[in-house]
């Protein structure tokens, strides 16, 4: 049963065609690694899945929500779809705990005490139980990104989207974030991640998708994808990054 379905999604910014007919179906529990050159449309595609970008045409359905214009429809979808960004985007004026509790309290209308319980449990999940009272600026980049993951998890999403979440991190800090994501995947979360971490894609992904010029150019299970790329474009790309 697919959790994410995209059919012939197209999107242009002015005269620039960013998505040129993308179709993808993701099953429950899959971890999809999306790779490709910058400008290939992979981030735009991910942002279309939770409505941060509106496709010009095509159909998107995520966790049984059809992507439709209008605040209410979008909010219903976003309750089931978590998103983590490259620049963490934690709220700097709130403590780690308050960052995590904000959405459950405002959107799900749960009590302060219940939200605090959830915050502590998701923080423990990402290994930062002792940072509840800290402010984001007191944390390292890797810690901030783990808090951002925890903040998304607190909404109990059915799908998680990760948009180059380790790209802003020092190499020695990416490991801790990837470890959290791997654990999340093992617990059965459906995940899509745009990434440049080829080793991680190879190890953890159930399927790797290669974006080229606004289309899905090639996809497959990691061994096959990295071991025997079929198209010359992917061969060239892998040659350049591996």
């Amino acid at each position: 049963m697919p959790v994410v379905v995209a059919k012939d999604v197209r999107k242009s910014f002015g005269s620039l065609k960013v998505l040129d007919g993308v179709s993808l179906s993701v099953n429950e529990g899959e971890l999809i690694a999306v790779i490709g050159r910058s400008g290939s449309g992979k981030s735009t595609f991910l942002r279309c899945l939770n409505g941060l970008e509106t496709p010009d045409s095509g159909k998107i359905s995520v966790a049984d929500h059809e992507l439709a214009p209008g605040e209410d429809a979008l909010r219903a979808l976003r309750q089931d779809v978590g998103m983590v960004f490259q620049s963490y985007n934690l709220f700097p004026h709130l403590t780690v705990g308050a960052n995590i509790e904000l959405a459950p309290r405002l959107v799900k209308k749960i009590s302060r005490a219940e939200a605090a319980d959830i915050a502590r449990s998701v923080l423990a999940e990402v290994g930062l139980a002792d940072k509840y009272e800290s402010y984001p600026e007191q944390l390292s980049g890797g810690q901030q990104q783990r808090v951002a993951i925890a903040r998304s998890l607190a909404m109990r999403p059915k799908v998680m989207l990760f948009d180059e979440v380790t790209s802003a991190l020092d190499p020695e800090l990416t490991g801790e974030v990837l470890k959290v994501m791997e654990g999340l995947s093992r617990s059965g979360m459906t995940m899509l991640l745009v990434t440049h971490e080829m080793a991680f894609a190879r190890k953890a992904a159930s399927r790797v998708v290669y974006f080229h010029q606004g289309r899905i150019h090639e996809q497959g299970p990691p061994e096959e994808f990295f071991g025997a790329p079929k198209t010359p474009e992917l061969q060239q790309f892998l040659g350049a990054v591996l």
């Binding site: 941060l52 909010r75 998103m83 985007n89 709220f91 405002l106 959107v107 903040r151 998304s152 909404m155």
Partner: protein
């Protein structure tokens, strides 16, 4: 009979300075309340609402405060609306302050990075919740120094109310000068009293600026 400028005369100025403070306070509270509404309208997604706010800001910013005051005090009575000088001056200053504060605050709201909106949207917050819980608290930090700085302008600009006969500090100064003919001492005292009101605000603004920017990235 010519009076000389002594303690009694200085006390007269001091009492008039009280009205300068009252007028400043009215302008700041009224202008602040109206200004936040205009600022929020200015960043609305609705083009009509946004345009109304932009029009308000442009017209008021492009008009001397004095003319706004004349319009309220001399213009409105033509429509049967007659106000005493204090009310007219407070209304004129409120209109003036609302446009400038709205523009300052719009800038602060827009200075909050777009990614903060996106993160709040992704967490399924409603537009009003994004504004109230995520954007405004951050915009507030940015807004404090320029807002306090603008308060100094308000205090000084209340002097235009003297033109419509409201006896605040400047008007009291001209009155006192007419009976003492000691302009140096009279207006020197007036300047001193303005300074005493404005200087603490300037110092506060500089302090806040330093404190809010210290140790902050970007």
């Amino acid at each position: 009979m010519i009076r000389s400028f002594g303690p009694a005369e200085f006390t007269f100025l001091l009492e008039a300075a009280r009205w300068t403070l009252v007028l400043s306070l009215c302008a700041f509270v009224g202008g602040g309340l109206l200004g936040i509404v205009v600022a929020l309208m200015r960043v609305s997604r609705n083009l009509v609402i946004r345009s109304i706010a932009a029009g308000w800001i442009n017209v008021i910013q492009g008009t001397p405060v004095l003319i706004v005051l004349f319009l309220v005090f001399y213009g409105l009575p033509f429509f049967g609306l007659r106000f005493p000088p204090l009310i007219a001056a407070a209304a004129g200053m409120t209109i003036y302050a609302s446009a400038f504060l709205a523009e300052i605050w719009r800038g602060c709201i827009e200075a909050v990075p777009r990614q903060q909106w996106e993160a709040a949207s992704s967490l399924a917050l409603k537009p009003a919740q994004r504004m109230i819980y995520v954007v405004l608290p951050q915009a507030f930090r940015l807004a404090v120094p320029p807002t306090v700085g603008f308060m100094v302008q308000i205090v000084k600009n209340t002097s235009v109310a003297s033109i419509i006969g409201f006896v605040e500090l400047t008007r009291a100064g001209t009155l006192m000068n007419n009976v003492t003919f000691q302009p140096f001492w009279v207006f020197g005292s007036v300047a001193l009293l303005y300074f005493v009101m404005c200087w603490p605000l300037s110092v506060m603004s500089q302090r806040l600026e330093r404190r809010l920017h210290a140790g902050r990235r970007s």
